[in-house]
Symmetry: C2
Subunit: 104 residues, 2 copies
């Protein structure tokens, strides 16, 4: 999944990983309630579909920003939380939250 | 263009305005070379098409993050730069740039 590209722009690289419509919202929702289950996360991220949440989580896990814990039970019990790398984004997301509340 | 929605989450509001694939990259490129012309901006934002750059700029202007100056000349001379509100995002984009360089 890691696609090495010879450019120096950290913003471009970051947006390759957390860009798009949902990933920043998902990371923020996990950071505010981890560990969190799929349906809790779906409720926390307004307007996301099951398909988009599943796909976005898969990418965030592949980029080592989110980790998944499967309890191997019936019915299934799966929890999501941030990895250390994912948690290192939270201060940036917090400033984005403050910016949004102040400016929009 | 301002769509008021009764939620308190600053991140959700921010992503409504600067979410998607290109807007954060565009804001960052403008911040590093403003005032900047359309073709310069196109070169600075890797992989963006004319259509996506035009559409994204239109939205960023509508959200009062970017301003456009048309010199009314033939051939046309148009420059883009950040508004005060747009410029207030730059510290967040800078931390995102550092995060990307460090973690990806």
């Amino acid at each position: 999944m890691e696609k090495k590209r010879p450019f120096d722009c950290g913003v471009t690289r970051s947006m390759e990983v957390i860009g798009g419509k949902w990933k920043i919202n998902i990371l923020w929702a996990i950071s505010r309630g981890e560990p969190i289950r799929f349906n809790q996360l779906k409720r926390a991220v307004q307007g996301i579909t099951n398909v988009m949440l599943t796909r976005s989580l898969k990418e965030l896990i592949a980029y080592n920003l989110v980790k998944k814990k499967d309890f191997n039970t019936i019915p299934p019990h799966v929890e999501y939380s941030l990895t250390e790398k994912g948690a290192s984004l939270v201060p940036i997301l917090r400033t984005l939250d403050q910016w949004g509340k102040k400016n929009l």
